[in-house]
Structure formats: C-alpha cells, structure tokens
Amino acid sequence: MSVDTEETHQRLKAAVHYTVGRLCQKIGEDHRRQFSRQAIAAIAETTFRQCDIFAKDLEAFARHAKRSTVSVDDVKLVARRSTALSIYIQNKSEELTQEHLGLKKKTTGKRKSIETEKSRE
C-alpha cells in the first residue's frame, strides 16, 4: 500500500512541478527575470508540502461541521489568514455560484422554447 502512495505522490509531484514551472515562466516573462531550475523545484516542493497542510485543515473543518465532504465554506476558512486572499476566494466562490445559476437558466430557456413549438403544432 505504501508503495502505491509513493508512486501516486511522485506522479502528483511531477504534475505540480509542471504547472509551477509554467506559472513561474509567465511571471519571469512579465518581469524579465528568469527563474533558475532550482528555484522552480523548490517552489514546487513547497507547494506540494503546503497541500498537506491545506488538506489536513480542510478535513478538520469538515469534520468539525460533522460533514464528510469538504465544502466551499471549508476552503473559505483555510483562506482566513490574509484579508486579500479571503476576499479573492469569496469572489471566486460567487463567480462559481453565478455560473451554476447561469447553466440552470439556459436549460430552463430551452425547455420553454420547445414547449412553445409544441403548443403551436
């Protein structure tokens, strides 16, 4: 079992490293200063380890609320330390809610037009 976890972690680390590399590349381009490979690797490793902390916190918050599924509210709590971050996450959360509502409206719209056509026939 531990071998599986090790393999999974290696694959996940690689995936994180890839995205971190791309983000650093973009920021390097914006500021005309390249990131050394060592720096990118260090940022990727730190991000990976930070996920452990985030995950444990999320799990604890969900359990505290007597839930087994981590929700958006738990994520908002994880972002509590920085006001700017809290606001940013709050806004993103509202965006997601808007998207969900937007999708619902579209489906209702389609149904209405089909009904109108049927009544014409």
Partner: protein, 81 residues
Amino acid sequence: MAERDVEVSFKKDTVSKLLSSFFKEDKTKLSGDATLLMAEMLKVFVQEAAVRSQKQAESEDCDQVEIEHFEKILPQLLLDF
C-alpha cells in the same frame, strides 16, 4: 493575429487527487466547487511565491531568480498563508 494567453492553472483532477491523498480518513471527500477554489488558492500561492522571489532578486540586483531568493521570502509566505 494577437492570441490571448492561455490561463495557466492547476487541473481540477490533479488538485482533487493531491488533496485526497493527504486526507487522514478514507471517507473524506472534496466537493467539485471546493476543488476548483483550492485550485485557485494553489495558483495564488505559487504566484505569491514567484512574485516575492522575483522582487527579492530585483532588490539584490540579480539577473536571475535563484533558490536563495525564494528561501529568503519563504518564512513570511508561510505565515501569510
């Protein structure tokens, strides 16, 4: 023909597997929206790390961002998150 930059972000699937692998209990799951928000959080984390490291390199008049620059800003980064 100007192309818009493709937004770089963490894949929902990666974030989901990543966080799930660290949960202590098997029954703990992650909602879809929570996963998307965590992907945003991680992106912000990486961007903060990168921008702060970049500023550190700038303040030291260095051409490249080295691991030493990242190490200097790391303590404050972790405290802020």
